[in-house]
Symmetry: C2
Subunit: 180 residues, 2 copies
């Protein structure tokens, strides 16, 4: 399966979102290489489509890119958490809506070249305002809800106005299901 | 624009693929938080569609997830490199084909919550075998070329057989252009 062996594996940083592991490997040829791995717990994403066809999106400030961008509601898995429950929880916390029906669309590796992150994406339908309403954490200070007609969201992807990878995957996959 | 200030910014690791920066911030409330940022140079992706409608994909072993997965040809930007030239270069190196025409589809942030990576995605058409042929680096020892009819690649996304985020974005966006 592989033509290398691991010579050394070093945990360089234990973080809040990811850990950094640096492995030194040796190929069968004798040459050596280094692999950096961001160890991430994975997460879940909701594609929340209201009964009238409106998509619920969240706009938030993303610290690494220093921009506000429009995304699907999503979040990290808590240890041992079921991905579907995570999608339901993040949807409710970020939008104040709960879903009667969640349908798995797919799972995606966001950056398999250097990170373990796997995101589970669910179509969320039968949306109702939840009694608790939106419950944002302090880190989500910038988050605002935006209601966008589904076809407009697809057009925003084509025009480069939605640029978040997981959101593009989720919306374009949901479009296929909803058209059936 | 923001309700925080940076108290401390520490470069924890300078890597081959990304650097790790850990910032400590203070909100206007006085509460503090830590942001881990994977600083990545960005990259480019090609969606190579042959004249007969066949999509050229590459299957390769991805170290972080310990799996072989099917992806679009892609790679990191060299310092100062034009993204379109990067897409053309990576296409030729990984598949042995060059493109007469590259059309920008979009740019995606792969993981804007913790990484700066921006990937520029191009539809690649007018494909011809290049004189140099495939030129793999040692780190790409596992890479093999797979020719998949375009409609089959879309079906593989729907069935969860293509699970790489950038590849799902690129193929589903190209599908829209090609259908026009």
């Amino acid at each position: 399966m592989s033509n290398f062996k691991i010579l050394k594996s070093e945990r360089k940083h234990n973080g809040k979102i990811f850990n950094l592991i640096v492995d030194e490997i040796e190929y069968a040829s004798g040459n050596r290489a280094v692999h950096e791995v961001a160890e991430h717990p994975g997460g879940a994403v909701a594609v929340p489509v209201m009964d009238d066809g409106t998509l619920l999106l969240v706009r938030q400030y993303r610290y690494p890119i220093q921009k506000y961008i429009l995304e699907l509601p999503a979040g990290k898995l808590s240890p041992g958490e079921d991905p579907q429950l995570c999608a339901a929880r993040e949807l409710e916390e970020e939008t104040g809506y709960s879903a009667e029906k969640l349908t798995k669309l797919t799972g995606i590796y966001t950056t398999p070249g250097f990170c373990t992150e796997l995101l589970h994406i669910y179509l969320a339908e039968g949306l109702k305002k939840s009694p608790a309403g939106q419950q944002l954490e302090e880190g989500e200070w910038s988050l605002t809800l935006e209601r966008v007609p589904f076809a407009k969201a697809v057009a925003m992807i084509e025009k480069g106005e939605i640029v978040d990878g997981k959101s593009i995957c989720g919306i374009l996959l949901a479009e296929k299901i909803l058209k059936q």
